[in-house]
Amino acid sequence: MALSAHGIGAQLPAGFEGRIFVRAPVGEEISRPVAQFATFPIPQGIGDFGGNTETSLGPSDIFAVLFEYGPESVGTALFAAQGIPSGLTTMDFLPYVMRPGVGGSLGIQRFFTAAGRPFMFYARLGSLQQQAALVQQVNQLLANLVIQPPSSTPLASPTTSTTAPSSTTTVAPTSTTPTTSAP
């Protein structure tokens, strides 16, 4: 199952569901694309980073977010890492990454720049006991993310399909026209 919108594409591993959206801006704020992925039904109206999903996260569940920051962040030290994170290990997931009150789970935060766009990847694992298997699933998710350069970001032009994307790495766009592949 694949989905794509706002210059972000993902081929979801089995068991995952997801959404890629831009919130309606409030006042003069500029909303940026957010991609949420989870192995449980993502409730409506949750926070960008999964606020209010604590009770939905079971021991074998994963919640992950790809959050885009403004272009002014490109080139800063925080976003110096290039490319989508990959090859995460169990050592990368730590309990203190989580907000207080989210006990028993582990998390990771990675800031990076991909295709000239600054992002933060955040993932939460349901339990320490199943950490190894869950990290493997997170790596699988990351390996199937595609980020397009900002100039080609087709805002409000989602595409979905049940086929794999043509590439699993950051790629240059071939066209600014969104396409939908047949399931």
């Binding site: 997801g18 192995t39 989602p158």
Partner: protein
């Protein structure tokens, strides 16, 4: 014809009555000629039709084809989607598409640890209007383990602003996907499909014109679920697995629960490990 005209001319000179008879013969002769031409044309047309049927493989009425050609089956496979009674009643498909606000969404239905009620609705159908309103108002009336998802046709066939307006205030996801309608072979809106994610199969589908009817359908389908859903049996048992497949499924279930190979709970050393401290049944219990 010249002979007839000559005879008529001769008759005119002799007797007026004979002239009429000759004229009648002439007219009849002309009519017979015309009918002969008409029949010949019809026979030729008939031959053309037989040739066309033969080229289609029918062989009906072809005198040269013999019994073999006459018994050749005529393909009658319908080009339209199969009727509900002919569909695979258990196949399940994940949902992916656009949201009314133009974002992308993909929902896992197969394998989900719950029931999913997919409501195939349209923004335009009159029967759907009341259901949209009731779903926004009474979504909470659904059993707690049932997830409601609304699926409309894709933005190319539906009006996203109208769908957004209908779903405003609702706490259920809306997927705009024409492919989903094709996957579930939806005959028309409103149509409902109830999926058991644990078994990855449909357990109910049908038409309902009011939301209470939908609730009734869901409750009835829930009642018909096998008793293995009560938690007393493993998922492998519920799926009817046996042998290595059941063992593998049980292993997966244990791992999901955080019990890995080597876990002490798998190797009880005493009755307390099995029944809990102080809960060991007396030897004469159950006697």
């Amino acid at each position: 014809m010249c002979l007839l005209l000559g005879a008529a001319s001769a008759a005119r000179k002799s007797d007026p009555a004979k002239v009429d008879v000759v004229a009648l013969i002439v007219v009849l002769t002309v009519l017979v000629c015309l009918l002969t031409i008409l029949v010949a044309g019809l026979l030729r047309s008939h031959a053309d039709i037989l040739r066309a049927l033969h080229s289609l493989g029918a062989g009906v009425g072809d005198p040269t084809s013999g019994d073999e050609a006459q018994s050749a089956p005529i393909s009658m496979s319908p080009s339209a989607p199969p009727l509900p009674g002919e569909r695979n009643s258990v196949s399940v498909f994940d949902l992916s598409g656009a949201t009314p606000s133009g974002d992308a969404i993909a929902l896992a239905v197969a394998g989900a640890d719950q029931l999913t009620l997919i409501a195939f609705l349209s923004s335009g159908c009159s029967s759907c209007a009341g259901i949209w309103r009731a779903m926004v108002r009474s979504h909470g009336d659904l059993p707690h383990d049932v997830r409601l998802v609304v699926a409309t046709k894709g933005p190319e066939l539906e009006s996203p602003p109208e769908v957004e307006a209908k779903a405003a205030g609702g706490t259920f996801p809306v997927v705009m996907s024409t492919a989903a309608w094709g996957d579930y072979e939806v005959p028309g809106a409103p149509f409902f499909v109830l999926v058991d994610g644990r078994r990855s199969r449909r357990i109910g589908e049908g038409i309902a014109n009011t939301f209470p009817q939908v609730l009734d359908l869901v409750r009835r389908a829930q009642r018909e679920l096998p008793e293995s859903d009560d938690g007393n049996h493993s998922r492998a048992f519920a799926l009817g697995l046996d042998g290595p497949q059941r063992e593998s499924a049980n292993d997966e279930e244990l791992i999901r629960a955080g019990i890995h190979p080597g876990d002490p709970s798998l190797y009880p050393q005493s009755h307390d490990d099995v029944f809990g401290v102080g809960k060991v049944p007396a030897p004469n219990d159950g006697a």
